[in-house]
Symmetry: C3
Subunit: 136 residues, 3 copies
């Protein structure tokens, strides 16, 4: 079973999508399985991270911005703006797809885990996330 979610972003940052994906799982009758979450873009990505203290996510964003800054003289791919090439690099350092087991109808996340779409572009975007559910 496959569902496509559209996530509206308001520029760079982490957007929690745990509840959106859990809602897709919840609509299915089966109990145990696997959810595979896939983002259809190369300048946004997925991570699972701490959902408790927002300071952890702020530090993550700032650390990655420092590792992959804009205005790096190495970049030749600059026609789509100064934030485009850093976005591609950040995407390959994180994840395009994540598989999450489903136990008794719930994503089997740990206590402090949340699933996030990471928008790497400065401008707002509409991002498509495909969720595949396999039950067997």
């Amino acid at each position: 079973m496959i569902a496509t979610l559209e996530i509206a972003t308001r520029g760079q940052g982490l957007y929690e999508i745990t509840d959106r994906v859990q809602a897709v799982v919840h609509d299915q009758p089966a109990e145990n399985g696997l959810a595979t979450v896939f983002v259809q873009h190369t300048s946004a990505s997925l991570i699972i991270q701490e959902n408790a203290d927002p300071s952890a996510r702020r530090d993550l964003e700032q650390w990655l911005n420092r590792l992959v800054p804009e205005k790096d003289s190495l970049y030749s791919h600059t026609t789509e703006g100064p934030d485009d090439m850093p976005a591609h690099i950040k995407a390959i350092l994180t994840s395009t797809s994540i598989g999450i087991p489903i136990i008794e109808g719930m994503l089997a996340l740990g206590t402090w885990q949340g699933l996030y779409l990471w928008e790497h572009r400065r401008a707002p975007h509409r991002r498509r996330v495909v969720v595949h559910l396999g039950f067997n």
Copy 2:
């Protein structure tokens, strides 16, 4: 089919779990399928790496420790200790879940591949790893 493994760690480092996951696969009658391994934490992660020469794993650990040091003035998320924020960053640079095909009842790893839990915290922890097996 889903199994949960508990892995006891003794502080930072790579802990091979290939045999633990293979044992779960071995208990199933089906032959071909997919194992998805998922760690339920945000300060430990998974990688597949060379299982032959231990020096490769030592270099990996030292390289990542240098890229993501403790005592970085960027960090504001410090209440859980100086090794906590680096642990979160190391986790997102590696993997929370890995899918491994199963061929004839065996994880289809390459000759030199081993599956490792990477503990990023200094203190010993008990880490939960969920294994989903799909056969079809």
Copy 3:
């Protein structure tokens, strides 16, 4: 259903394998499912990246080469050549396996997404990529 592809590389670089994997999917009668692509090596990896402008891929390669250079005094694992330890590090920063949903018999990639094998060694290699298809 499982297929194994052999990819001949001519040294470091990104090799698009989208069509090779799509051909495996195309041979199956089922319509919706999940393709999991797995590379059986620790010095090559997988990424999904922009398949339009080649300059994005060139910048990616140069950026990662700068982050993980050869001749780093940190490395002790050097017996297999100066490009071996950087290859292992680059592999863990990218992906060993990627799950891609299948919709109506097609890999559900975004408009600008391509699937690439990233060869991290300087010498040509024959790389094995295992594709698991699950339909349900």
